[in-house]
């Protein structure tokens, strides 16, 4: 996997501590891979692993954005509804036939999705910072708004991409491969690499972590706290838009239930990946690993013959808790 390499962009001074904490999610992932191999012979096949990682792309990319919001001390519950909303608007635009040429139409749709995603994030961020309201409440509100607007746009049914040309042009973005690597996996790698660069190597990234670890200190140090926090939500919106760009070509349609509970999966991926919910720490590659873990747990359950379908949710929950406990004990030992 492409993710194992850049585990520790750690500063040399505290290398030993950071190392173990950052590596913990990858150890959990390795453990799951062993468990999966025991469960089913086909588990380790390239076909299955690429399927699973490709499938995790939506949550992984959204969770990269969530890492920004959470490490800035915020929270975004609206991402699942936002996916449905942005994807619905994108499909409606592609269907509207404003632009006759399919390629230009598609490109305009892509730009539109990114702009809408950024605007949705900006709305969340501005209400949180200017309105001085708890992010939990703000994004709970916008979660309802995005979901309601999607249901209204679709009249409760489905919004389906109708143009055959656009469909065949767009389909490879989810199902295609470059040099044998499915395109969504490349999307994950690119998004995470960019996000990691910004978070660890730029001034904005350092400001973000400073605001997340102590807002007051950051303010007294002269940081533009409001702007930094708002931008984190914009990054989240952009990540949602990127996830939408992958989601639309898969089924070519959205429904009123698209993306339900994805916000919880994204937050779980972030936490499993080693980012603290209280803010101040952000681990992009850990988050991506967390998203893989979530998807692989589901995959193992389905491939194994020894778990009743009624018990899957319980065992998934237990595995996540155990993975967290393993991480904690590793972190303490260091």
């Amino acid at each position: 996997m492409s993710t194992a390499a850049p585990t520790a962009p750690a500063r040399p001074r505290v290398a030993r501590e950071i190392d173990l904490r950052a590596v913990a999610p990858f150890l959990a992932l390795a453990l799951l891979l062993v468990l999966g191999t025991l469960a089913n012979d086909n588990f380790l096949s390239i076909a299955n692993l690429t399927n699973v990682i490709t499938r995790s792309a939506f949550i992984a990319i959204i969770a990269v954005g969530a890492t920004y919001v959470i490490s800035s001390g915020g929270l975004d519950l609206s991402v699942g509804s936002m996916v449905a909303f942005v994807a619905s608007l994108m499909i409606l635009f592609l269907n509207s036939g404003t632009i006759a040429d399919p390629t230009t139409n598609l490109l305009a749709g892509v730009v539109l999705a990114i702009v809408i995603g950024a605007l949705c994030g900006l709305a969340n961020g501005l209400i949180v910072t200017l309105g001085r309201i708890e992010p939990f409440i703000v994004t709970l509100g916008t979660m309802g708004i995005f979901r309601g607007l999607t249901t209204w746009l679709s009249q409760g049914g489905a919004i389906t991409l109708r143009d055959r040309d656009v469909q065949s042009l767009y389909r490879p973005v989810y199902f295609g491969e470059i040099l044998g690597v499915p395109i969504p996996i490349l999307f994950i790698a690119a998004t995470a690499a960019l996000a990691a660069f910004v978070l660890y190597r730029t001034r904005y990234g350092r400001h973000l972590l400073a605001v997340g670890s102590n807002e007051d200190v950051a303010r007294y140090s002269g940081l533009p706290v409001g702007r930094v926090r708002t931008l984190a939500y914009v990054v989240q919106g952009l990540c949602v838009a990127v996830a939408v760009l992958l989601y639309v070509p898969r089924l070519g349609s959205t429904t009123a239930t698209t993306g339900t509970l994805w916000e919880l999966q994204a937050i779980t991926a972030v936490v499993v990946g080693g980012t603290a919910l209280r803010g101040g720490v952000g681990r992009i590659w850990g988050t991506v690993c967390g998203a893989f873990i979530l998807e692989i747990v589901g995959n193992i359950m389905l491939l194994s013959n020894f778990v009743s379908e009624y018990l899957i949710a319980a065992i998934q929950g237990a595995i996540i808790i155990v993975a967290m406990l393993v991480q904690r004990s590793l972190a303490r030992r260091s």
């Binding site: 096949s45 399927n51 009249q155 049914g157 429904t255 389905l302 379908e309």
Partner: protein
């Protein structure tokens, strides 16, 4: 016979209009019918809303004195309020598809005690007798499974089948039991059953994993048209040619269209039509204007939609 009547009720209000003509002496009478249904929160309920509004319009055109009020509610509490609001306006009849039947029994009972005719649709409370409602119209969940099972047993008697279930609720269990009954005595073998939550993305995931787990699958039964979208996409991506066909159910316009067009992967669909709310409304109005006796239970067949009859069940303007 019942099937024929069903065809009339759902597809053709034209036929109904012809039936209602002789009753024109009654036309001057003023009646108010309240229709309380769940808000459109997924495909099937979106279909319910569409058909309730469609049939309401048609009925009011036929009977100038008739007023049909359609109200949608997202949850049982607000639906109870909506029913009370409707009752205040003075109802002659109530057609209700409860979001959750048991919490709504009291509200329905009040309307019935007030002397209105009550038609209950699809979801029945634990005590479903004539003390709460006059007419009960519903689809047939066990039959939805049985018809699918029988079709698979007849078309491919030795098939290896994977099943994508809905959510762990009684309706889903009834469908599974019906399916088992349908394939009884044949060589059809169920390889696996997993929950797809009546959701496209979850069904896609489950199907991908089935394809990894089983080298040879003949037939997929996913009982729901929304889930079929995800299942088909997963099969197409895997480039697997062993899967002969997929049996879904409900009667969404996309799947009915595929059946109509002779799609090899979707040769049939099993009906569990959201238009049943229209059946209840038509019967209720027939009771008011034509004094036709309609009290009792009216269980729609889980009709097998094939290429030949698909046109009857195709509503291109419906959101579902």
């Amino acid at each position: 016979m019942r099937q024929q009547f069903f065809g009339l009720a759902v597809a053709a209000v034209a036929a109904f209009a012809a039936l209602a003509q002789p009753a024109s002496a009654q036309e001057g009478k003023k009646y108010t019918v309240g229709v309380s249904i769940p808000a459109a929160d997924h495909g099937w309920t979106a279909g319910v809303v569409f058909h309730a509004q469609r049939v309401a319009k048609l009925l009011m055109e036929e009977h100038p004195g008739l007023n049909v009020v359609v109200k949608t509610s997202p949850d049982p509490a607000s639906q109870a309020n909506a029913v009370q609001d409707l009752a205040v306006q003075g109802l002659d009849a109530l057609v209700i598809l409860p979001t959750d039947p048991d919490p709504l029994v009291n509200a329905i009972q009040q309307v019935k005690d007030g002397g209105a005719f009550v038609a209950l649709v699809d979801r029945a409370p634990s005590d479903n007798d004539d003390s709460v409602r006059d007419l009960y119209v519903a689809g047939n969940n066990p039959a939805l499974g049985r018809v699918a099972g029988e079709y698979i047993a007849k078309t491919t008697p030795d098939a290896q089948v994977v099943v994508v279930r809905g959510l762990p609720i009684p309706i889903d269990q009834q469908r599974q039991d019906g399916f088992d009954e349908g394939i009884k005595g044949s060589n059809v073998k169920v390889l696996d059953r997993q929950y797809g939550n009546w959701n496209r993305d979850d069904a896609f995931r489950v199907m991908q994993d089935y394809l990894t787990k089983y080298p040879k699958i003949d037939v997929v039964w996913c009982q729901d048209d929304d889930m079929a979208v995800g299942v088909l996409e997963a099969i197409e991506q895997a480039n697997r040619s062993d899967i002969q066909y997929v049996v879904a159910g409900a009667g969404s316009k996309d799947m009915i269209k595929r059946v109509m067009d002779g799609d090899k992967m979707i040769p049939v669909d099993v009906l569990y039509p959201p238009a049943m709310v229209g059946t209840a409304m038509e019967l209720t109005v027939a009771h008011l204007y034509d004094q036709t006796p309609v009290s009792g239970s009216y269980i729609l067949d889980a009709t097998l939609v094939t290429k030949d009859n698909a046109k009857e069940f195709y509503f291109p303007e419906s959101p579902f």
